[in-house]
């Protein structure tokens, strides 16, 4: 394929941070977890105790996948990492596949590349290869790190290989989706929807112990059983066959479609704008309607599923501690709701930044709209979407709880527990907006805060994080509602902090130059 290697080298050179960054992030998480586990379970007795606690316990499988070989350190690692790997690995794979294929096409770069003496499909093939490189690097780095931490060589290789295979499978899904959708944004939405379906069905299947692990790539990771005496072979065949078929499908679509086109031709729109779009705020509402609604539907599904599974997951111990168990489990889920709301706000802020970079904000501000009005509208809109999402998830967590326990009294508990985190969510969102006020390029940094929030929420105890590190996540300031009581002082501090940030961000935004337009 003429030009393939040139395109590949170009991709690797221009996106080295992505290609190296993601595998390194996965490796750091795996290695830090492995190191902590080494310290926590130094002898076989401790590992046996860990394994014994899990016998017959499907509860935690909803979040971390099925646990196997839990009396070995490797098995414990695979089990404990399940929390993050089942979320992180597929999303990285999807993101990279879309970014390096449809993302490039969206910018118009593909047009210039294919105008040169290269095969029509070379840039796409190179893009998919680039997206697959991080999967290979994940295998390499993680194996190295685990072996260095005295984990068995064969098991480490198989475990890291499983992570790579899962990432590659979702890279393949991303490649197909990117070829079929007309732009990267739609591809991201569809790809994330596919991942979520896969994740949630696996959660239900694992929590209920239904025997259909063969049907879902998200289940295959645990079924590899890397640290067993005789690891299973079939998940590898499943990964390979599934990815192969998807890559062939992506190639088939790519070979047949026109550049810039998708599978579904674009439908014509209305010849006039809807009469209610009159002000900047309403325009922003119109433009974010699809994204906002998508986030809310997805997050509500998530909230309902985990609300529903709470009953199974806290169904241990004596009757007196049952309520405590429920609250402890619920605390994780409502914090996840809050993090979803924060993520939605951050993504919408990133969209605002993209609007500015594309010159559309500048064009809108060429009319008689003041900077302050525009920024105020944007701040209001993003915060409102996040809070609306939080409200919907709180309701659906409550409904899920009510359905799981068959008791409508639980609806209120889901509502109050989730909404307790509203000040923290607002603070997250306002931080992203403040970064945007300084520069649209800085918004990406806001994802670090959200990512850290996820790690503190799910992995703080396991990673043995010191208190100051936990406090970097605003969610932690609230304590773990509903296990702990709602603490008014941090809520007040966060609200004041958010208000101050809004004022400062407005002042900065009014004074700086727009990046384009």
């Amino acid at each position: 394929m003429t030009g393939y290697w040139r395109c590949l080298v170009l991709n690797l050179r221009t996106a080295l941070a992505q290609v190296l960054g993601w595998p390194l992030a996965v490796t750091v998480l795996a290695a830090s977890t492995a190191a902590t586990l080494n310290g926590m379970y130094p002898d076989q007795a401790g590992r046996d105790a860990y394994g014994a606690a899990y016998v017959g316990l499907r509860s935690s499988a909803a979040l971390q996948g099925r646990g196997y070989d839990l009396t070995s350190l490797g098995g414990i690692l695979a089990n404990e990492m399940g929390y993050l790997t089942l979320i992180m690995i597929p999303l990285i794979g999807l993101h990279l596949a879309i970014k390096f294929t449809r993302g490039v096409e969206d910018t118009g770069r593909l047009d210039i590349l294919t105008a040169g003496p290269v095969n029509r499909l070379a840039p796409v093939a190179a893009g998919v290869t680039t997206a697959a490189v991080p999967a290979a690097l994940t295998v390499l780095f993680t194996t190295g790190a685990l072996v260095a931490l005295d984990f068995p060589v064969a098991g480490s290789l198989l475990y890291a290989g499983g992570l790579g295979a899962l990432m590659l499978t979702f890279t393949a899904i991303g490649a197909v989706v990117a070829q079929c959708c007309r732009d990267a944004r739609t591809a991201y939405v569809l790809g994330t929807a596919i991942w979520m379906t896969s994740y949630l069905t696996r959660a239900v299947v694992d929590a209920r112990g239904i025997d259909v692990a063969w049907a879902n790539p998200e289940s295959w990771l645990a079924e590899i059983r890397p640290f067993a005496a005789t690891p299973t072979l079939w998940p590898w065949i499943a990964f390979a066959a599934f990815s192969f078929v998807l890559f062939i499908a992506a190639a088939a679509v790519a070979a047949r479609r026109d550049q810039g086109a998708g599978l579904i031709p674009p439908r014509p729109g209305p010849a006039t704008a809807a009469p209610w779009i009159k002000t900047p705020l309403r325009l922003l509402v119109r433009l974010t309607l699809g994204t906002g609604a998508g986030w809310i539907i997805a997050a509500s599904l998530f909230a309902f599923a985990f609300g529903y599974l709470t009953q199974q997951m806290s169904d241990i111990g004596t009757a007196t501690s049952a309520d405590q168990n429920i609250n402890a489990t619920l605390a994780i889920f409502v914090q996840m709701n809050a993090l979803l709301a924060a993520a939605a706000g951050t993504q919408l802020t990133q969209w605002l930044a993209a609007e500015e970079n594309a010159g559309r904000v500048g064009y809108s501000l060429a009319g008689p709209t003041s900077r302050r009005r525009w920024w105020g509208s944007a701040t209001l809109l993003v915060t409102a979407w996040s809070l609306l999402l939080l409200l919907c998830t709180s309701l659906f967590t409550g409904l899920g709880l009510a359905a799981g326990f068959n008791d409508t009294q639980y609806i209120g508990r889901g509502l109050t527990a989730t909404m307790a985190y509203a000040p923290a969510v607002v603070l997250f969102v306002v931080m992203a907006l403040a970064l945007h006020a300084v520069s649209p390029r800085a918004v990406a940094m806001a994802w670090l805060a959200v990512g850290w929030g996820v790690i503190v929420c799910l992995r703080a105890d396991l990673l043995d994080l010191p208190e100051w590190a936990r406090n970097l996540s605003p969610l932690h300031w609230m304590g773990a509602v509903p296990r702990d009581d709602w603490n008014q002082l941090p809520a007040l501090i966060m609200t004041v902090l958010a208000a101050a940030l809004v004022v400062a961000a407005t002042a900065v935004y009014e004074r700086r130059d727009l990046r384009a337009g």
């Binding site: 732009d183 674009p266 704008a273 433009l287 009319g367 008689p368």
Partner: protein
């Protein structure tokens, strides 16, 4: 009026066509025109519909499917259907075909008859020649020539750079050029008319 502190008041009295038109990719062309018009605040709906017909724009298409010329038309229609004092056009006809350029010129002449001010920034000298009463030549951020005679100087500047060919619209600019520079055969030889 200070453009920085009184931006809103200033912008209420002008309509703007950017050189690089960025539209919301998911919206239809018609929606974009309406939204831009409503943000500007003084859109004449009758004129909008008339202009869509004149420019032969399909307003139901999503803007991401538009060509550069069509995106330009959206911005032009939105600006031209506004009732304001000042119209700012930054390279407004890049990507337009000659017929549509003609429509644009017609629209500008109508504005002129209505007593409106049009500020046209353009590299297309024939367009400037056809439309402008006053011409300013800006070089490295400084106005180097101003007034009616500046146009002749502009042609001179281009010719001084010794282009291999210089296609200009006959007859006016061509004549102007030849009368000004006939004495220099090397330059005259570079003209294809």
């Amino acid at each position: 009026m200070d453009c920085r502190t009184q931006a809103v008041q200033a912008h209420r009295r002008l309509a703007y066509v950017p050189g690089d038109v960025a539209l919301w990719p998911g919206l239809s062309g018609g929606s974009c025109i309406d939204i831009l018009g409503r943000l500007q605040g003084q859109m004449d709906t009758g004129r909008r519909n008339h202009l869509i017909e004149q420019f032969e724009l399909d307003p139901t298409k999503r803007t991401r499917t538009y060509s550069k010329g069509n995106r330009q038309k959206v911005a032009l229609i939105a600006a031209l259907s506004a009732n304001t004092d000042l119209y700012l056009f930054d390279e407004p006809t890049s990507g337009l075909d000659p017929l549509m350029e003609n429509v644009f010129q017609q629209c500008v002449r109508e504005l002129k008859e209505l007593g409106r001010t049009v500020l046209l920034s353009s590299h297309i000298l024939s367009e400037v020649e056809a439309l402008c009463d006053r011409v300013s030549i800006v070089r490295r951020g400084v106005v180097v020539r101003e007034g009616r005679a500046a146009l002749a100087a502009a042609v001179g500047c281009v010719a001084a750079a010794d282009p291999t060919t210089l296609t200009v619209e006959p007859p006016s600019l061509d004549e102007l050029f030849l009368t000004s520079y006939r004495a220099e055969p090397a330059l005259a030889g570079g003209v294809r008319s």
